[in-house]
Structures are given as structure tokens and as C-alpha cells.
């Protein structure tokens, strides 16, 4: 046990240590915390009004516990999703496990250590909703001390079951998924799975949705006590048991439900460790990197070709992003997420004609309004471009190669920004397809919108690259660290929102600017100005930071 705790401690320390973080970064976290304080107040008062309203609505029919049921069911689904990505990254994507395998640890000990980090993220996630809602519900229902004690215990044990279910499914999958014998491909495949999971979940919900029927059913159920709870928690027994434990906290049955939850959670932990002992090592050890194939000298010769150094640099960057599972997931898949999601929604909603009308509506708007709206919308969908703010950090220990090879620093940095721009092109392409095929946008508007989005994308690529060059994270042991626990995405978001917000507000408020073409021209000019400034800043950073990154 001692050894297991030691292992958990070491693994957590490696993941969350502040060592090596600059004072600036630590100050940044402090500011973030301070920034969160007013936000938390707003959040809690919002929660309070929701809980109070629902409680008053449901209490007369004795259905107030449906609120708790809804919370536990919602939390279960959120935990499923968070577990999926955090288990994958901690159990399989993090390379550090290979460093622990040679030591005399049992698989279950390693598994317990590896589960610690995902569990922290699970508690943080569930805490955001569970702590305020359970407390507020307690206040509104005038609950006793035992309710709060039970609520605390449930907060601790509730994530165990969703976590175990996801972990066992994943371990089973990873144990047998390596038929391809290719570690990287398996990683990407597993990563894409979570992507498909969300989209698929969305589609299923949409397919099952029949608004009229659901409302009628709910109305009937609401007549009987606990009827709504049964409906909501029908598929998630632990949510039902937890709700009942809290609902009958003053009675013996409440205690029995709590004991049942404790028994289920203990069983889940044991099952998890047992399954881990059997499946986990085989899952990771089976992941051999690469495969031997027959060698073809002509294939090799064909790959030898002469190209300009910037093209070679961009090609190298793209290869590394697409071949490194973490980079691929963060830089490519995640940026495609919003556009793909949008397509799914649009395809399923197109029958209701509300979206197909959107294109016609855009045509009827003033040229200025529709262009500005579309521009803001596409920026919102494109987001902050992770490929740009990981430009330098992705190189990690390979970074010195940029310093000793005879490539001009500007060529290195601008080819990295260009790579980020090229990756964004995929999302822009998807947006363009939506614009033409689904929304039937007028061609003039469409062309201007795409052109401006391409310019804006170059600006975000430059800003992200500059931010990363300013404070790169090169000393990482696991690729996840390039993206995790860094404030850089927040800074990128603030700068980009600030710049674009400024530009759009200016144009929106100048009445002299009207019509599509004039708006586009002014937008393009302002964007060009922003791009010119970021070019200057980036070049300055290259002079001051390029050789001082190590």
C-alpha cells in the first residue's frame, strides 16, 4: 500500500509540479485565480436561481428529487466524457509509463498511480456542478446535517463508477485493438473514437427527439411522486441510488441507499484493479512501435527530391503533427471539431427549414451586417488555432537543431506560422462547404467572407507563434505538456478577441461605411494593419528570443 501511495505521489508530482515554471507563469496562474473569483460569484448566483425555480416548480408534486436525479445523470455523462480523454491520455498516450514498467510494480499499482491524475480532473469537473448544486438544494429543502454528510460522501465516490466503466471498456479495447501492431495509429484511432463518440451521441439524441411525445410523457409522469426521477435516472442506476440516499437522508432507507452506493463503488474499484491486472500491461506492452515491411530501394530513391528549404520545413512540421497522436488530436482534430459539429447540426436541422432559410436571410440583410456577422461567426468557429501556439514548443528537444542548422531564423519561424495557417485551412474549407452547400450564400458575399477569413487566419497563426516564441515550453517529457496547464491559449484568445472585437466594432459603428464591398475593403485594410503589426512583433521576438530559448 505504501509503495502504491508513493507511486501515486510521484506520478502526480511529475504531472502537476510547478518546478521549471517561470515567475511570470506563476503570476499568470494567480491572476487567473483572481479573475475566477467574481466569475464564481456570478456562477453560484445563477445556479441558485435555477435550483430555486426548479425546486418551487417540482416540490408541489413531490418531484423535487428529479432535480438531484438530473444532476447525477448529467454528471455521469460529463464524467464519462472527461474519463474517456483523461484515461486515454494518462494510461496510454503518456510515454512516461514505459519508464515505470522495468520497476517491480504490480500492474494494479501502476494503474492506481496512473488513475490519480484523471481522478483529479474528474473531481474538478464534477465539483464545479456538484458542490454548488448539492449545497443549494440542501439550503432550499432545509436539509439536515446528515444530508450534507451524505452529499460529501457521494461527491467522493460518485465518479468511481463512470470512471471504471470507461476504463474497463478502454482497457479491453486497447488490449485487442493492437491488431494493427502500430502504436501511433492505435493512438490516433482511439483519439478519434472520442470525437466520433460526441458526434454520435449528438446524432442519437437528435434521432430520438420527438418534442411532442416527450412533453406528454413528462406531464403524465410528473403527476406521481418520484415519477420524474424514475424517468430521468432510468438508464443510470447509480444516479438513482445517489438521489434516493440524499432524498431519504433522515430515514434508514437513505442510509441503505448510501451503503449500496459505497458497496457498488468498492466493487467497481476492485473490478477496475482486477481488470487492470489482467488487461493493462498486455495493452501497453502489445503496442509495438512500427512494423517491418519489405524494403523497396526504388521507393526510397523516389523520396529523394530537391525543394526550397521553407517547403521542406513546412512539410516536416506537417508530417510531425499528423504522425504524433497528441499533436494530431490537439492541432487537427480539435480544430475540426466545431465545424464538423456544425455540419451535423445543420444536416439534421435542415428539414426544419430554419437553417436553409438562413442563407436567404443573409442575402436580405444589408451587405455590411451579413459580412460582419459571418466574419465574427467564422472566427468563433475557428477558435485560437492550437497549431500556432504550440509552434516552438512542439519541437521540444529537437529545437536546438533549428539553431545549428544553417536555416535563417525567420525562415524557421515563418514556416511554422505557415503550417498553422495550412492546418486552419481544413476548418475553413469545411466552413466554406457549409456556406455554399447548406446556406446557399450569394457568391460575392461568399468569396469576400472566405478571403477575409483566410487573412484573419494568418493573423491568428502569427499571434500564436509569437506567443509561443515569447515563452516556449521545450523541456517536456510528454507531448501533452505542450498544451496542458499552459496559459498560452488564454492569452491567444484574449489578444485575438481584443483585436477582432476592436476591428468589428469600429466598422460596425462607422455609418459612412456601408455596402458589402466597402465593408470588405475596410475589414481587409484593418486586418492587413493587424497582420503588419504582428509581423513586426514576431520579427522583433525572433531577434530577441530565438537564440535565448534554451
Amino acid at each position: 500500500m505504501n509503495k502504491t501511495l508513493r507511486l501515486i505521489h510521484t506520478m502526480l508530482k511529475m504531472q502537476y509540479s510547478m518546478a521549471g515554471k517561470s515567475t511570470g507563469e506563476k503570476l499568470g496562474y494567480l491572476f487567473l485565480l483572481l479573475f475566477l473569483v467574481p466569475f464564481a460569484f456570478i456562477f453560484i448566483s445563477l445556479m441558485n436561481s435555477i435550483v430555486a425555480t426548479l425546486y418551487q416548480q417540482l416540490a408541489p408534486t413531490g418531484n423535487e428529487n428529479a432535480l438531484l436525479g438530473l444532476l447525477f445523470v448529467g454528471i455521469t455523462f460529463i464524467l464519462f466524457f472527461v474519463s474517456l480523454s483523461s484515461i486515454l491520455s494518462s494510461f496510454y498516450f503518456a510515454e512516461d509509463i514505459e519508464g515505470f514498467i522495468p520497476y517491480p510494480f504490480h500492474p494494479y499499482q501502476l494503474l492506481a498511480g496512473k488513475a490519480a491524475a484523471p481522478f483529479i480532473s474528474l473531481y474538478l469537473t464534477s465539483g464545479v456542478l456538484m458542490v454548488p448544486i448539492l449545497t443549494l438544494f440542501g439550503i432550499h429543502s432545509g436539509a439536515s446535517f446528515i444530508y450534507y454528510l451524505y452529499a460529501f460522501i457521494l461527491f467522493i465516490i460518485f465518479p468511481v463508477v463512470p470512471f471504471t466503466v470507461v476504463a474497463i471498456i478502454l482497457m479491453f479495447f486497447m488490449r485487442y485493438a493492437n491488431i494493427a501492431k502500430n502504436k501511433d495509429r492505435t493512438k490516433v484511432f482511439a483519439g478519434l473514437l472520442s470525437f466520433v463518440f460526441i458526434i454520435g451521441f449528438n446524432i442519437i439524441i437528435r434521432l430520438n427527439q420527438d418534442p411532442g411525445q416527450t412533453a406528454e410523457g413528462a406531464a403524465a409522469l410528473i403527476q406521481e411522486q418520484n415519477g420524474l426521477l424514475d424517468l430521468i435516472t432510468g438508464m443510470v442506476p447509480t444516479a438513482y441510488f445517489s438521489t434516493m440516499a440524499l432524498n431519504y437522508a433522515r430515514e434508514l432507507s437513505g442510509l441503505l441507499f448510501l451503503l449500496l452506493m459505497l458497496a457498488i463503488s468498492t466493487g467497481a474499484v476492485l473490478l477496475f484493479l482486477l481488470a487492470g491486472q489482467k488487461l493493462y500491461f498486455k495493452g501497453i506492452l502489445g503496442l509495438t512501435a512500427g512494423s517491418r515491411k519489405t524494403f523497396d530501394p526504388h521507393k526510397v530513391t523516389r523520396k529523394i527530391k530537391h525543394q526550397p528549404v521553407v517547403a521542406a520545413m513546412i512539410k516536416k512540421e506537417l508530417r510531425i503533427i499528423f504522425r504524433t497522436p497528441t499533436f494530431f488530436m490537439q492541432c487537427v482534430v480539435q480544430s475540426l471539431f466545431a465545424p464538423v459539429f456544425l455540419i451535423v447540426i445543420l444536416l439534421f436541422e435542415s428539414s426544419s427549414s430554419s437553417f436553409s432559410m438562413l442563407g436567404t436571410m443573409l442575402g436580405q440583410f444589408q451587405g455590411k451586417t451579413s459580412l460582419l456577422l459571418l466574419f465574427v461567426f467564422s472566427l468563433f468557429i475557428l477558435g485560437v488555432n492550437p497549431a500556432s501556439y504550440s509552434s516552438i514548443s512542439r519541437d521540444g528537444r529537437n529545437w536546438p537543431a533549428n539553431l545549428y542548422l544553417p536555416v535563417h531564423p525567420e525562415a524557421v519561424i515563418f514556416s511554422k506560422a505557415a503550417t498553422a495557417w495550412l492546418i486552419n485551412l481544413l476548418s475553413i474549407l469545411l466552413l466554406a462547404i457549409i456556406g455554399i452547400a447548406v446556406l446557399n450564400m450569394p457568391p460575392g458575399l461568399f468569396a469576400l467572407w472566405v478571403g477575409l477569413t483566410l487573412l484573419a487566419s494568418w493573423f491568428t497563426s502569427l499571434v500564436g507563434t509569437a506567443l509561443d516564441l515569447n515563452q516556449p515550453k521545450l523541456h517536456w517529457t510528454d507531448e501533452q505538456e505542450v498544451f496542458k496547464s499552459r496559459l498560452i491559449s488564454l492569452f491567444a484568445l484574449l489578444i485575438e478577441m481584443g483585436a477582432f472585437g476592436f476591428i468589428v466594432i469600429i466598422i460596425w459603428n462607422i455609418d459612412a461605411v456601408e455596402g458589402l464591398w466597402m465593408t470588405a475593403l475596410l475589414l481587409a485594410l484593418l486586418l492587413a494593419g493587424a497582420i503588419a503589426i504582428s509581423h513586426v512583433v514576431l520579427k522583433r521576438l525572433i531577434r530577441t528570443h530565438y537564440h535565448n530559448t534554451i
Binding site: 512500427g290 517491418r292 524494403f295 530537391h306 528549404v309 504522425r323 545549428y404 542548422l405 544553417p406 537564440h547
Partner: protein
């Protein structure tokens, strides 16, 4: 020729290299020795432009690495201490990338890749990812990349570590041939037998300062003739 003139480098108040003055002449294999943390890698990183120099200058064949970095970098080839570079590329992609960086014409590139990778026995692995290579194969890939553009000055940080006897022999022969043609070969090592076999001259550095510079004969003459190199080294570096 590499010329290191009164070079100093500090890290957070700690002096890693102190007023180092050293000339590595053409036509010789020059060994750079010192215990762990003596300042060898820091010196090599300053020569190659990886670390900025706090004080002093370094020139490679007359080009200042700080003032004319592109010209200096085109002249040398550098093998870093860790060969774990660009693991997600295939061997051939890495070599082709290096070829593009040095702007090598296609025919020369093809011929050199063929010759070097066959000499080191990695030709048939060229279409595999570097990640799947053993440490030695990665080392050979990096060395092949460095020799691709036929640099005048070779700078090698622990180049023989991880190489099998045959590849180690091949590389040593290549080093000898290169120096014999009047070029510079500068390498760091911990392995004293290699120094004894291979070096025309050596420099020993300890705590960032030069302890000795001269040829093998001079080094042994400074001490009792019957002492082996290991004892000489230990004595020079104060048995650290």
C-alpha cells in the same frame, strides 16, 4: 579551423566556461576531454550557435558564429550528444530534409545517401520511422545526415557512443581520412582508449577552464612515462 577566443558562459550566476582560449587546427583529429559537467557540451553548443556567447568570440574557418551565423553553419557538420531527433520522420525523409537545408543537388544527394547509409548498414531501414531505430541506428542516421553536405569542419559530441564495433571503426576511419585531407575534426568523448587511438591533439577542460592542450606525447611527458592515460586524466581533473 575553429578558433575560440576568451570565451565565457554563465548560467544563473554559475560560470560554465571561463575565459576559454583554444585553437583547433586543420588537418588534425582533436579530442576534447573532461569529466561530467566540465563545460564540454556548453563549449560545443557555443561553437555550433545553439547557445549565445556571453563574452569572447568563436570563428569557424574565419566566420564568426555570432556575426555571420549562416556562413559559419554551412561550413560545419554537427553530431549532437543525443541522436533522438525528428523521431516521427522516416530515415529517408530526415536525410532528404537535411539535403534541402544544405541545398544539395538531387544527384549528389542520392549518391551520398546511398554511400553513407550503406557504409553504416542502415540503408534498408531508410523507409522506417526513426522512432523504430535502435540508439546506434539513430546515431548512424544523424552522422549520415551530417556528412551529407561534406562539411569542412566536423564537430562531434560523443559520436561513438552506442555504435557497434564495425560502425565505430567505419566512423573512425572516416574521421582519419577527413583530417588527412586537411580538414578539421573536433570531438568530445569520455572514452580514453578512443583518445589514445585516434587523437592527434587533445584539450582537457575542467570546471570550465582549460587544464591542458597538446599532443598525446606532450601529455604523457608532463607526467611519469609509465602512467596510463586514465591516471593522467584523473590527475589533471583532480580526481573528480
Amino acid at each position: 579551423m575553429i578558433s575560440i577566443n576568451h570565451v565565457t558562459k554563465e548560467f544563473a550566476g554559475k560560470t560554465a566556461v571561463k575565459n576559454l582560449d583554444l585553437v583547433i587546427p586543420d588537418g588534425k583529429i582533436f579530442g576534447f576531454l573532461g569529466p561530467n559537467g566540465a563545460g564540454k557540451s556548453t563549449t560545443i553548443k557555443m561553437i555550433t550557435g545553439i547557445l549565445p556567447i556571453d563574452n569572447g568570440t568563436i570563428t569557424v574557418n574565419g566566420f564568426d558564429i555570432t556575426r555571420e551565423p549562416m556562413k559559419a553553419k554551412k561550413i560545419f557538420g554537427y553530431v549532437p550528444d543525443s541522436p533522438d531527433v525528428f523521431l516521427r520522420l522516416k530515415g529517408i525523409e530526415y536525410l532528404n530534409f537535411i539535403g534541402d537545408v544544405y541545398d544539395l543537388p538531387r544527384d549528389i544527394r542520392e549518391e551520398k545517401i546511398d554511400y553513407l547509409t550503406k557504409s553504416f548498414g542502415i540503408y534498408e531501414a531508410l523507409d522506417d520511422y526513426i522512432q523504430t531505430y535502435s540508439h546506434g541506428m539513430r546515431q548512424k542516421t544523424v552522422i549520415s545526415g551530417v556528412l551529407l553536405h561534406d562539411p569542412d569542419v566536423w564537430i562531434l559530441d560523443e559520436p561513438l557512443s552506442g555504435l557497434d564495433p564495425k560502425s565505430s571503426y567505419t566512423l573512425k576511419e572516416m574521421m582519419r581520412e577527413h583530417a588527412a585531407k586537411g580538414n578539421t575534426v573536433f570531438f568530445s568523448t569520455h572514452v580514453l582508449e578512443v583518445v589514445e587511438q585516434l587523437c592527434d591533439e587533445v584539450a582537457i577542460i575542467n570546471s570550465g577552464q582549460l587544464q591542458f592542450r597538446g599532443n598525446m606525447k606532450e601529455m604523457k611527458e608532463q607526467f611519469e612515462a609509465d602512467e596510463n592515460l586514465e591516471r593522467v586524466f584523473l590527475e589533471l581533473t583532480n580526481n573528480e
